[in-house]
């Protein structure tokens, strides 16, 4: 834990232009002996946000939503007081900024100390569970990322997020279970991906691959650039805009697909983040489907899962691992999965829509798949113990 005494921090500069970022970089080199590194916000431990920029308040809110619990420093020309946030007035006094960074580092180190020194004989204390926050573990185990590591952290971790029951509605909706015998209810549980941003994205990816060229998709408020033969997409649009475009059918002209000549520059790094194409397809499919299935999907015929989705890099909504674990064993109908696992149908439908979007699921065509009812799930010999372990991992 020697790091506790040194000021080793990964810092994101949010809402700042290149000159401000350069000034911060120089500050880190001079006053912090290079022990602080300016990194992309996805891999940062703390963020510094300039509140005097365009739409900076909105930027702050979005940032707090995206990285809840991350220590923040805000900079402003005005005197500011915000709950739980260190506010520094511009022009900045280097000593004040240094003190603020040290204060945050100290708080994070305290968390680590609490995590690593539980009371003797305290079993599984709730306190240590709480203390094991993401930032605490990063300090303990993450050396500052640099170079290529830093760049790739953007493309992988940004997409991954754990959704719990309380925050999964935006992705899987809240529709009640349906009666598969009722044609109207079945129709209501279907959507056409082609009508949604998901379909446009899929088409753009297909163009990039088949025509071997860069493609841009979006509108005047933001866009996504797909690089040919590359699984990574450069996103230059806010999460809010992408969600807005994704949740309702695309109106005429609201989204355009543009073939690029290949020499057009990428967006500035401050304006974009990188994301894996499967992760983006998965997310947009969840937003579009909201607990429905692509039109034409049978709810009662068996479907297969070709392979496990790469769940650490995708939005993991409730029951997603259970559904995958069941379906990977043998084909099941979507209604059957919900029944066997005693979970809401919308979670199963969302799973199918997302995995179908990235090409992992489909209708089981083999006669043998329809011949027998799927085997019942046999309880593991240590079912109770494993359930308790799961609960413990969820709590962490």
């Amino acid at each position: 834990m020697s790091q506790q005494n040194s000021l080793s921090l990964r810092v994101a500069a949010v809402g700042m232009d290149e000159r401000m970022r350069c000034a911060l970089q120089l500050f880190f080199q001079g006053h912090c002996n290079n022990s602080c590194a300016l990194v992309h916000e996805g891999s940062a431990e703390i963020s510094i946000i300039d509140l005097d920029g365009y739409k900076s308040q909105q930027l702050l809110e979005e940032h707090r939503t995206r990285y809840p619990g991350r220590p923040l420093i805000v900079l402003s020309l005005k005197n500011m007081q915000l709950d739980g946030i260190v506010c520094l007035r511009k022009p900045l006094n280097p000593q004040q900024l240094l003190a603020a960074l040290r204060q945050m580092k100290g708080q994070m180190a305290d968390q680590v100390t609490r995590t690593e020194t539980p009371e003797p004989g305290s079993g599984a204390p709730e306190q240590s569970v709480q203390a094991a926050s993401s930032s605490a573990v990063q300090i303990r185990d993450n050396p500052p990322l640099a170079g290529k590591e830093q760049r790739t952290a953007q493309s992988t971790h940004v997409a991954a997020m754990r959704l719990h029951e309380r925050n999964s509605d935006a992705y899987i909706g809240s529709a009640p279970d349906i009666d598969p015998e009722d044609p109207k209810q079945v129709a209501d549980a279907q959507y056409d991906p082609e009508d949604f941003f998901q379909g446009y994205l899929k088409r753009a990816l297909s163009i990039a691959e088949t025509e071997n060229r860069d493609v841009r998709i979006g509108n005047q408020r933001g866009s996504i650039r797909i690089q040919r033969q590359c699984k990574t997409i450069s996103v230059g649009m806010s999460e809010n805009l992408m969600r807005t475009l994704s949740v309702v059918p695309v109106m005429n002209g609201a989204v355009s697909i543009t073939r690029l000549k290949g020499n057009e520059p990428l967006l500035a790094s401050a304006e974009r983040h990188l994301i894996n194409s499967d992760a983006l397809l998965w997310k947009t499919a969840l937003w579009a489907s909201r607990g429905r299935v692509p039109c034409g999907t049978s709810l009662t015929e068996p479907v297969y899962l070709r392979q496990w989705p790469n769940m650490t890099r995708l939005y993991a909504f409730p029951h997603v691992l259970r559904i995958a674990a069941l379906l990977i064993r043998e084909p099941h109908s979507l209604m059957g999965i919900a029944k066997v696992l005693s979970i809401p149908q919308r979670n199963v439908f969302a799973f199918y829509s997302a995995t179908h979007a990235i090409g992992l699921t489909g209708s089981a065509q083999r006669a043998v798949d329809k011949l027998f009812e799927p085997a019942t799930v046999k309880k593991h010999g240590r079912h109770g113990l494993l359930s308790r372990l799961l609960s413990r991992l969820h709590l962490q």
Partner: protein, 178 residues
């Protein structure tokens, strides 16, 4: 020794020690030493005995987390370690010269244990080398009878390691409820 344990295995530098630290309730016991053989080309210190971590459950039960030594010359310990284990977490270093060979080696070496339980595979260091991809690993395992969970994992991220272990548990019993 209680039989409730999960085994972490994989080649040198795959992140076993770090992964255990990510989800352990205690500061893991480590047995790193300066590498004196070919291992030193990969990392200056390596695990020469085993790593140990712990997860406390309600009711006083404990799940022991064991990391095997990365070097094959310690493989005599593997049978002893796995006896009575819940399952296997195999971590593979994507930046190694031939990670597929590593995967086949460990899947074969632990086959009796995997047949009795199951395995979840975490691919580490994908930020250093993005090839092979997760899909490539799945292709390599097509000949295996079962389809295994294979995730990209940053062993330093608790969320990644936790998801991998959860996938292992659900593979054993999809009916589990947290």
């Amino acid at each position: 020794m209680s039989n409730h344990k999960i085994i972490f295995t994989g080649p040198v530098g795959a992140g076993k020690t770090t992964a255990i630290a990510s989800i352990s309730d205690i500061a893991p016991l480590r047995t790193d030493e300066a590498a004196s053989d070919m291992t030193r080309n990969h990392k200056p210190e390596t695990t020469v005995a085993l790593d140990y971590g712990l997860i406390n459950l309600t009711g006083g039960e404990r799940i022991h987390l064991y990391g095997t030594p990365g070097q094959e010359r310690f493989d005599f310990m593997w049978d002893i370690l796995t006896e009575g284990g819940i399952g296997l977490v195999l971590l593979l270093n994507n930046s190694r010269p031939d990670p597929f060979q590593d995967m086949h080696f460990f899947v074969k070496a632990f086959k009796p244990f995997i047949d009795q339980t199951t395995v979840a595979i975490g691919i580490t260091r994908t930020d250093e080398t993005d090839s092979p991809t997760v899909a490539d690993y799945h292709m390599q395992l097509q000949s295996e009878a079962c389809k295994l969970p294979i995730f990209e994992v940053d062993a330093r991220r608790r969320e990644d390691v936790s998801l991998l272990v959860e996938a292992l548990l659900y593979s054993l019993d999809p009916g589990l409820v947290a």
